[in-house]
């Protein structure tokens, strides 16, 4: 079937050409990653709740918190949840510092029960979840990176071309108008997609692993440069928290894009690999 008749047929059916977009290793590692990141985030917030402050350097000096959450009693006797970032304090009652637990009762806790794993306070179990899925996440990440390098996925699908980089301004404008590529251009990732994925795969996710490792007193003895790289164990804890925040922001944008650029088509392509190309006008 030549391209012309394919095009004519798809136009007639109103469906568009179907391409094989995601290979099995990409789909598999993607969904394992979804599971790992969800559990790592929720168990990570359970661990954070054991000490709801962040610092820079090696020590946790109470006077030098860069972020902290707490419950305070106000002059009228009522309690409020407060979050301080730098020197600015926000009232975060109901969400951070003070929130309703699973039983409906107010509790003084950093992140609320509905987003932590387990939902009740249990640091030991939170750590079990976290480290089990941290290993799965790291092994999955290595499997993906090895595949991406060996198969050419990284070079072929993710590295932006010179032409794409030159036209980045145009892409930004089109994205802001929520207009997405069609036809030939839709067969590969656009430049913003490529840069976002590369930043996550090569910077954010490795950084979250390395900053997590730096919180380990044993690994700090084995690899002293880790602590120096982050500027101290407490800095590493702060970076770990920021990376997690970055991942959450990425996921929000990613899921939003999936929803508005053809949710069923996108979901099908990440499950079966097949993606329908909307014909160019």
């Amino acid at each position: 079937m030549d391209a012309l008749s394919m095009d004519a047929r798809s136009k007639a059916a109103g469906t568009g050409e179907i391409v094989y977009r995601h290979t099995l290793p990409v789909r598999l590692t993607h969904w394992i990653n979804v599971l790992c990141l969800a559990i790592l985030l929720m168990s990570g917030l359970q661990i954070f709740n054991a000490h709801t402050s962040l610092y820079l350097g090696n020590r946790s000096d109470p006077a030098h918190e860069v972020l902290s959450m707490r419950a305070v009693q106000k002059p009228d006797g009522k309690y409020a949840g407060q979050t301080t970032i730098g020197s600015v304090t926000f009232d975060t009652t109901g969400v951070l510092g003070l929130s309703k637990g699973a039983n409906g009762r107010w509790e003084a806790v950093g992140f609320p029960s509905w987003i932590t794993l387990p939902s009740y306070r249990d640091l030991a179990t939170g750590r079990r979840w976290h480290f089990f899925f941290a290993w799965l996440f790291v092994l999955n990440g290595f499997a993906y990176l090895t595949y991406a390098l060996v198969s050419g996925h990284l070079r072929r699908d993710l590295a932006p071309t010179g032409r794409q980089l030159k036209n980045i301004g145009h892409d930004v404008v089109e994205h802001l108008k929520l207009k997405f590529p069609k036809g030939e251009d839709a067969k590969r990732y656009n430049v913003l997609q490529k840069l976002a994925y590369l930043a996550v795969i090569l910077a954010l996710l490795p950084l979250v692993v390395l900053s997590g490792m730096t919180m380990s007193p044993a690994l700090d003895a084995a690899f002293p440069f880790l602590v120096d790289f982050f500027g101290g164990r407490q800095s590493a804890r702060t970076v770990h928290f920021l990376c997690a925040t970055g991942i959450v922001l990425f996921v929000f944008v990613h899921v939003f894009m999936v929803l508005i650029s053809g949710v069923w088509n996108n979901m099908r392509s990440m499950i079966t690999g097949r993606y329908r190309i909307e014909p160019a006008e």
Binding site: M42, I47, F48, A50, H51, S53, N58, R59, S60, D61, P62, A102, W114, L117, P118, S119, Y120, D122, L123, A124, T125, R127, R128, W129, F131, F132, A134, W135, M213, M215, S216, P217, A218, L219, D220, A221, A222, F223, P224, V227, R233, Q234, R237
Partner: protein, 256 residues
Amino acid sequence: MEFNSKLSRRGFLTRLSAAGGALLLGGCDQLSQSPAFRDILGKAEGVTQRVQRFVLSQRSLAKEFSESDLSAHFKANGSLNVDDPTYQAQVPLGFSNWRLKIDGLVARPTELSLDELRRLPSRTQITRHDCVEGWSAIGKWKGAQMTPLLQSVGLKPEARYLVFHCADMLAPGARYYESIDLIDAFHPQTILAYDMNDAALSVPHGAPLRLRVERQLGYKHAKYVMRIEAVSSMVGIGGGKGGFWEDRGYEWYAGI
């Protein structure tokens, strides 16, 4: 009309996702409490221990800091005092009648006074103390080195762990205890600390003696150490998991 139906659909979807989320969380909580599932999650500890021991050599030292790095306030955690008349009687005497007992699988069971411990080969180190809760503090520790002490009492070949029996009860009826294996016992930075920040160890920090095992988390650093027992297994000691917190679900290997 259409507006209304959209609203209710949105309401329905919100309720559905809330119910789905609650179900998922409830499911995770149930898994968290299932002994079989906890055991599966716990397998990660063995992997972590093997990998960390592989990348750590016996000579890998925890970083040592300088005096200017010391924490102005070093938080005391866990037990802050010991509710025991024999212990309390020793506090005003500076623990002069107190004895550390070393027994179990050793060739020469020994009792040592604080003065005798102070005369043993010592080591001074300024290190970072990392609590499992997430905070860190830097303190200066001076104590008897474990290696020459163990050589003098002579470990029997079947000895695999050292159990540190403590004076404090952190839960009703549950005396604190901890254990380390011989790799950590013979590490050069493993000491029985009697001084902290150039003063005799205070009661909140574990007077008269606390363990420093610098490449592991804070709860391994047993305070109020009364007796060191060399054993071949943890069976029959406390809850059998090798420590007070280990009996309550925490990792025995606390390298991370």
